[in-house]
Symmetry: C2
Subunit: 335 residues, 2 copies
DNA sequence: GGAACTTTTGCAATCGTTTGCAATATCATT
DNA sequence: AATGATATTGCAAACGATTGCAAAAGTTCC
């Protein structure tokens, strides 16, 4: 392995000059600069990032922390997460940063100590805000650069990027109403930040339509198809005579519910219309295809990265919620 | 931030002794050791990993590289990948390693140079072998510690961990045969290592059953539900009078195919039975539920990590293929 | 030709550890 | 009390870069 000293020797300059030349520091003579760069190229030399980190106190690495749902421990299995993770990875690579991935179980290292103080990372991206996490709140009191994917409270003490969950949900439910649904159930766990917003959007739509909000129609449901299936059987079947619509907080839940209904002989969408949220890959390929709300993962990932880098440059970064898109498919097509 | 020097001063020993004490080196007096450790604890001191890396030339980091399918660029969206990624993350954390994640587009940095030579990582885990990748072959000629998830050729020049794709596929197809299917199509792209094995298993089963192998029944299909849908419409519909079974190389493909068939009025499983591969989350919750083959992601992830660490300890690590499990559900339940 | 700048360069310190080797302390033996 | 082991410690040199500051070289101007 070559070191900077070797390159310097070959170029017949000091290490300092070689170092500056490689960083294209204009203080060194242009010819010298080119010569050093040429030699570095020729010998395929790259500066040792560890040594560089030690000296500059920067790691050129970002830690991405995926929060697990406390009990169910799923989360990384959520296809939506994967998409955005891929985008983030690309963006970071593109900006010259490495990405350290951590799937955080509940009890866990102290992020600031482990990543920032130890110089393992220069900033943090946290995904899956879940139930209000006091670790995030705590981070915001330090000067650690970090961004969170999730729901914005409107006056967060930190930078949040997420989807317009509330208006997206409202659009979906209004669509169900427009299809003639009058008794629409909500499936999801509103103790989860983002789901809470979807729940509020659900209420918004019902209110605008002048429909009653019946607590019996609100089922706390985990993120899984399995729970959508079970809760539907247990708590929705009795309501079936009147029930004519379901808005599920995620596609997985919606598909689980749909399965239960179909087994029970309910016609979807004729007898009951369904809409979900996320547009997972399968949504278009189940029968009937699922009406859903699609999040903008691409811009989401890009924004997370750019806002984080902004913070690392000492600037302020505002929270931002991205528009979503309602995809109407057969599961809600009545009449 | 405290440094080792501070701790040493507090404990009234030299830095060398403090360093050894923290690493529990028996050469230092037990009392001194405890004293230093106690002080370090008290002040929440952690050694700076960058400095340590620089000195020891080890990073305590493993790079996980996810290979993208050249054209379709999906891969990280594959739910199966996410599962195993989660397991790997946990295992590495547990062993005290950090995980650098890279989603590799085709043209890309040279892994050895970027990760190993630059000391960004001590070893590599490569997922998604895909079409035969000469970069992997090339790696095996260096002394870089690495493991690959995928298909074993039986005499690889590197360590592979994967599923028993061939026998798994054979089991699935034999099951279809046992259900009375006589004309079974294969959907998948056998230019992909693992799929090739599934394809061979498909052939094994047909041969054992004394059925003919008809090339017209073999459809090169991408990994997506979409392509399963399209290829089925285009190329399977004409064969429908005789066709009575489909083995898809992935659940996504199977679900796409099933959708096309249902729209076309084909009864599944009565008229045509379907089996897939992977057991993605949706497979149990579509209608009819999909018969499939489940891979052992947990042991897969654990093995990848342990075999990699073995190599890093200078030992040899054999390739290993894990047993899979056939899950029979309604999509193949005939009579 | 020398003063006063402006460019370019290199010296040497620094980032925070680890570790080979030598030095010192401790202890048993004769 | 001197000798030889053995158990503990610390010195100082790495590891491979970056950077403040001063020195050297090159210009300009009178």
């Amino acid at each position: 392995m070559m070191t900077l000293a070797d390159i310097a020797a070959l170029a017949e300059v000091s290490e300092s000059t070689a170092s500056r030349a490689l960083r294209d520091n204009p203080v060194v003579n242009i010819e010298t600069r080119l010569k050093v760069q040429q030699i570095a190229q020729q010998y395929q030399f790259n500066v040792n990032p560890t040594a560089r980190s030690l000296r500059t106190q920067k790691s050129y690495t970002i830690a991405v922390i995926i929060l697990f749902d406390a009990k169910s421990q799923q989360a990384i299995s959520d296809p939506f997460l994967l998409e955005i993770l891929g985008v983030i990875a690309d963006e970071l690579t593109h900006k010259g940063y490495d990405m350290l991935l951590s799937t955080s179980k509940t009890k866990d290292k102290d992020w600031k100590t482990y990543y920032i103080d130890a110089k393992r990372a220069d900033g943090l991206i946290i995904i899956g805000q879940g139930e209000h996490d006091q670790r995030i709140e705590q981070l915001s009191h330090s000067k650690v650069p970090f961004v969170v994917w999730g729901a914005s409270s409107g006056h967060d003490s930190f930078t949040v990027v997420g989807s317009q969950n509330r208006s997206g949900a409202e659009a979906a439910v209004s669509h169900l109403v427009a299809q003639g649904c009058k008794h629409i159930a909500f499936l999801g766990d509103y103790r989860h930040n983002e789901i809470e917003q979807r729940y509020l959007g659900y209420q918004d739509a019902l209110q605008k339509a002048g429909l009653v909000l019946d607590p019996a129609y609100e089922l706390i449901t985990d993120f899984t198809a399995q729970d959508g299936y079970v809760k539907t059987q247990q708590q929705l079947f009795p309501l079936l005579p009147k029930l004519d619509g379901i808005f599920a907080a995620s596609d997985a839940i919606a598909l689980g519910a749909m399965k239960a209904l179909q087994e029970h002989g309910v016609q979807v969408p004729q007898q009951l219309a369904i809409a979900g949220f996320d547009d997972i890959a399968m949504s278009a390929y189940c029968s009937p295809a699922l009406t859903t709300v699609k999040q903008d993962t691409i811009n989401g990932g890009k924004l997370l990265v750019s806002k984080l880098l902004q913070q690392m440059d000492g600037e302020q970064a505002e929270s931002e919620l991205l528009p979503v898109r309602l995809l109407t498919r057969q599961s809600s097509a009545r009449g």
